[in-house]
Amino acid sequence: MIQVIRNSPRFIMLALLVVLMAVGGGCKSKKKAAEAEAAAEKAKMEQEAAALRKQQEEDRKKREAEEEAAKKAAAAEANKKGPQAKLEEYFTSISNSSNEASANSSINEALSLFASSDTPVLIVIHESGGQKDYDKPTTIKNYLYYLKDQKKQADKIGNLQFDNSGKITEVELVKQN
């Protein structure tokens, strides 16, 4: 019987067909599996990118919130101190501002300490035997914007003059070499 089956061409053809179908089916399922794997990988990457973006956005918001809180704390602290300490706080805040809005906000707050935005600022570059050498005088508004643009440490406050309402009418700074 076995010999009959083995010798039958029909049987051989049938067996070959079964083998081919089995192999073909296997390839299709492998391709499907690869596609599914790629899709899963893509989805994973997209999820990771979205998570990274979200994290960066959260970090940025956190940084801004911290900066704003520090600024408020500095302003609150400065309020407890005298005008010179307040002004020093504003100088530092403007020089160290990481963004334009924050710097402009500090400039506007600082200007409220002055009788006018044109309040003169004298900068001593050298002093010897009671004789002072000055840089070209400027105004407080220009000086505050100068700090914002140059992002450099402000000159040391040497003297402040006030009007009757406690507003600053003149600033003398001393350049630190």
Binding site: S128, D133, Y134, D149
Partner: protein, 192 residues
């Protein structure tokens, strides 16, 4: 007779000394150092202003405000030299025009930095009472377009510095100050 000769010699000597002091009044080394430093600081300030004006992220209104401040550093009619690796000649523009051209450069990203800022000619008192010196700087320029095109060069520039003692009235008081002004900025070398 001896006394007469001595007094004559002394009076001639005093005249010479007072004339020479009038022409070149003494400035102590510390005071001179402070003026030198002030002038260098103005050059560094200009460097920062130029990088802000050139930066494509700077809003137009900010760039205009900074241009005004930068222009104040210069003596009237001062010119800025501009060179390129792509041409031999050096073009000179009034500083305001230079800033406006810098702001309008056709790149998507521009970075400009100045370094190695130093005097090549010390501030020296001139017969008109002004002090004049020359400061050299190196400027690194990089302009990049979104399509990947990039131009970069390094330029050595010489800046004439003028320092003059002036007076002004502040709240009814006369204040003497040192006015530092930048003059022409001339290109002396350009390399890749």
């Amino acid at each position: 007779m001896l006394n007469y000769k001595f007094l004559s010699a002394l009076s001639v000597g005093l005249c010479v000394v007072s004339l020479s002091m009038a022409q070149n009044p003494e400035i102590s080394p510390a005071r001179k150092q402070a003026i030198d430093s002030l002038a260098l600081e103005k050059v560094r300030d200009l460097s920062k202003y130029i990088s802000i004006i050139g930066n494509k992220k700077t809003p137009f209104s900010e760039a205009t405000r900074v241009m005004d401040r930068a222009e104040e550093l210069f003596a009237p009619d001062s010119e800025m030299g501009v060179s390129s690796l792509n041409r031999k000649e050096i073009n000179y523009y009034k500083v305001r025009k230079y800033f406006e051209r810098l702001m309008a450069l056709n790149y998507d990203k521009v970075t400009i930095s100045w370094y190695d800022i130093h005097y090549i000619s010390d501030l020296e008192r001139q017969p008109d009472g002004r002090y004049v010196g020359v400061v050299t700087i190196y400027q690194r320029f990089e302009g990049t377009s979104d399509d990947g095109l990039k131009y970069k060069d390094t330029t050595k520039k010489d800046i004439t510095i003028y320092v003059e003692k002036k007076k002004t009235q502040i709240q009814g008081r006369t204040i003497e100050f040192w006015d530092v002004m930048l003059g022409d900025i001339r290109v002396s070398e350009t390399s890749a």
